[in-house]
């Protein structure tokens, strides 16, 4: 058997629907059609009452989820693309994320954001929005990078009593395969040391983890052992695991696919600098996309986002400092 990242997301939803009658899925075209990416394929057949097509109304979709959460349910909202969640932004950050704090009533909703770039998708079907949502108090923001994590973290997201922004990466949907789904899993809020090393640490998440791994493989040919930390969850950040790694390597590069200003890499480098200053043997480095909208043309797109090559280059510099 072999299962893709996309199938893992579907399986997690199937299990969540099975485990609890409080779970339902709401989104555009997610019913009989199975979703724009087919991540709810077949679920409508098994749970016609709980896999429901919505109008094109992201604001109301999120509001509806909040109301259902008040009523004790655990809705999953699928945005057709992460980019369109901008229309539901107000309900996410002001309604859902503040609910528990204002009223002491939890708001267990999961918002699935098909995120990130793929060639030819352009500025409005490629965005990574973890930074926007993580900035606001009250949200938990997950960014799984593996098939196993996509599965176990989505299940955990649905079980958490707070709003979870689940950033699933579209580039990984079909590219990534695993042999089987996990039975046990690291808690979602723990970072994972994906690859041990000693010359430098790369902190990455989501699709960038794989670029980092490729870079590390290239660098290993020159004898560099690069440790890779997969953040998994970007809010909260498991800073202890991060600092533990830097304690071993003394050098760090944070890599993120999203825009450069104030994103995950800024938060992580800033936390490292404040809390792990004395662990650092060289200036901490960052790598993000270029500060423009995400280009449509694959030639431009490949250059716009960090890749194994640009990571490799950055690490070579970092190691020399």
């Amino acid at each position: 058997m072999s299962i893709t990242y996309l199938e893992a997301i579907r399986e997690a939803q199937a299990l969540a629907l099975k485990n609890s009658e409080d779970v339902f899925i709401y989104g555009q075209d997610i019913g009989l059609f199975g979703g724009a990416f087919k991540s709810t394929k077949g679920l409508y057949n098994d749970y016609p009452n709980r896999v429901i097509d919505s109008p094109i109304s992201e604001d109301a979709m999120v509001g509806l989820a909040v109301g259902a959460a008040i009523e004790g349910m655990r809705p999953i909202i699928e945005m057709q693309f992460a980019d369109f969640s901008s229309v539901g932004f107000n309900q996410i950050v002001n309604q859902a994320a503040t609910m528990y704090w204002r009223t002491s009533v939890p708001c267990p909703i999961t918002i699935r954001l098909p995120s990130g770039g793929t060639p030819g998708s352009g500025p409005f079907h490629s965005q990574c929005m973890e930074t926007i949502y993580a900035h606001y108090p009250g949200t938990i923001v997950m960014t799984p990078s593996t098939v196993e994590d996509a599965y176990s973290m989505l299940l955990e997201a649905v079980s958490i009593d707070d709003p979870v922004i689940f950033c699933e990466h579209k580039y990984l949907y079909y590219h990534l395969k695993a042999e089987s789904l996990p039975r046990k899993a690291l808690p979602a809020q723990k970072a994972r040391i994906l690859r041990p090393g000693r010359h430098a640490t790369i902190i990455a998440y989501s699709a960038m983890v794989h670029e980092a791994v490729s870079a590390a493989e290239i660098l290993s040919k020159d004898g560099y052992e690069i440790e890779i930390v997969d953040l998994r969850c970007v809010k909260p950040i498991d800073i202890d695991t991060v600092l533990g790694s830097i304690a071993r390597t003394g050098r760090v590069l944070a890599v993120g696919e999203s825009f450069p200003w104030g994103g995950v890499t800024a938060e992580i480098i800033s936390q490292i600098s404040s809390e792990g200053f004395n662990l650092l043997d060289a200036p901490p480095a960052r790598l993000n996309s270029i500060d423009t909208p995400i280009p449509y043309h694959p030639e431009l797109w490949r250059y716009h986002r960090p890749t194994a090559n640009s990571i490799e280059e950055k690490i070579r510099k970092l190691i020399k400092e």
Binding site: E21, D22, F24, N49, R50, S54, P55, S57, E58, D59, A60, M61, V62, G63, L64, A65, V66, G67, A68, A69, I70, E71, G72, M73, P75, N90, Q91, N94, Q95, A97, T98, M99, Y100, W101, R102, T103, V105, P106, C107, P137, G138, I140, I160, D161, D162, Q189, K235, P236
Partner: protein, 339 residues
């Protein structure tokens, strides 16, 4: 004072009973808000004060037709009367204004931003239009769970709030799902200083109903009996499975947008028009004319209201402010983490 909602239709004594009940809540709301305005003017309220003066009949008439423990009610800024009629403890209101740490939000949010989502009162955020989909979500969940039964969800908005995308998306969604949702639109002719002519171009707000495929009616917002009967019929339709209902109330707010605002933009002409009639006075006159009670009874109602208000405010004032050092600074229910 019990919350009378399930009286039978048509009977004269039933009508008089619900009118008197509603009237009492109107008096309580007016008395409370007048008092809060005074305290505001003395500088003892943190933040703004927004009152429902002139809108009490419309506001309370919706809520009086709801059943606490069964229905959902998400009020907005001018719904003191509706809140009371729905069953919000007066002391909750007082605590929120006075910043008591015992209030429903523990001092975290203020004035009109109180509620109890688990007791059928989802708590408003300021962004206009945002509560309609939340109420719809409660109903949607109940339908999935099979617990909808006879319940309805009700929420309110102003003439200005109808211009928001949130209003549109939520009402359309509720219509598609045929949810038992009642949206009252208090058309008080202004959104802050903005007259309806700069807010919408339809002839009548109720004209929007057909575009959503829902039922809509107009009521005279200054007339308590018209309000009660209008909501009664629409809420019954919603309970009967006829889908969302819009009730437009035509009236005027008899105050500034907030108590900081002396509303120079409201012309004398409109104040003197039918819209500017004070629903409280009009109700009183009608009640007396109909002989549903006498002047003594009404005086007692006002006295009782003053007593209730005094005691609620005293309680709130006697309570401590939230203490930042012992406050639970955690926006998360599931986890405790430092950032």
């Amino acid at each position: 004072m019990a919350n009378i909602a399930n009286h039978e239709e048509g009977s004269e004594s039933d009508l008089s009973k619900v009118v008197l009940d509603t009237f009492r809540w109107m008096i309580l709301a007016r008395t409370f808000e007048d008092r809060i305005s005074n305290i505001y003017r003395s500088g003892k309220i943190f933040g703004g004060v927004y009152v429902g003066k002139g809108q009490e009949a419309f506001s309370a008439s919706m809520a009086i037709n709801l059943v606490k423990g069964q229905d959902v009610y998400s009020p907005l800024i001018r719904d003191m009367a509706g809140r009371s009629a729905f069953g919000e403890p007066l002391v909750d209101a007082a605590r929120t204004y006075m910043g008591s740490s015992n209030g429903p939000t523990k001092g975290r949010d203020g004035n009109v931003h109180r509620g109890n989502p688990r007791e059928g009162m989802p708590t408003m955020i300021s962004h206009l239009g945002a509560m309609i989909s939340v109420v719809s979500g409660v109903l949607f969940a109940r339908r999935i769970k099979g617990t909808l039964n006879n319940s309805v969800g009700a929420t309110t908005i102003g003439d200005g709030g109808t211009s928001t995308g949130a209003f549109h998306e939520a009402l359309n969604l509720a219509a598609v799902e045929k949810l038992p949702l009642i949206v009252s639109i208090a058309n008080n002719q202004f959104a802050y200083s903005t007259p309806t002519s700069k807010q919408f171009a339809c002839h009548d707000l109720v004209d929007k109903a057909v575009g959503y495929g829902v039922n809509g009616i107009n009521v005279d917002g200054t007339d308590l009996i018209d309000c009660i009967q209008g909501f009664q019929s629409c809420i019954q339709k919603a309970r009967a499975g006829e889908g969302p209902q819009i009730v437009v109330g035509n009236l005027l707010r008899l105050s500034g947008h907030g108590e900081h605002d002396d509303a120079p933009y409201i012309s004398e002409e409109i104040k003197k028009s039918k819209l500017g009639i004070d629903c409280l006075k009009k109700s009183e006159k009608r009640i007396l004319d109909e002989g549903w009670c006498n002047q003594n009874d009404i005086d007692d109602m006002f006295k009782n209201a003053v007593n209730e208000v005094n005691s609620a405010i005293e309680t709130a004032e006697s309570e401590s402010a939230p203490d930042p050092y012992s406050h639970d600074w955690n926006a998360y229910s599931s986890v405790k983490f430092d950032q």
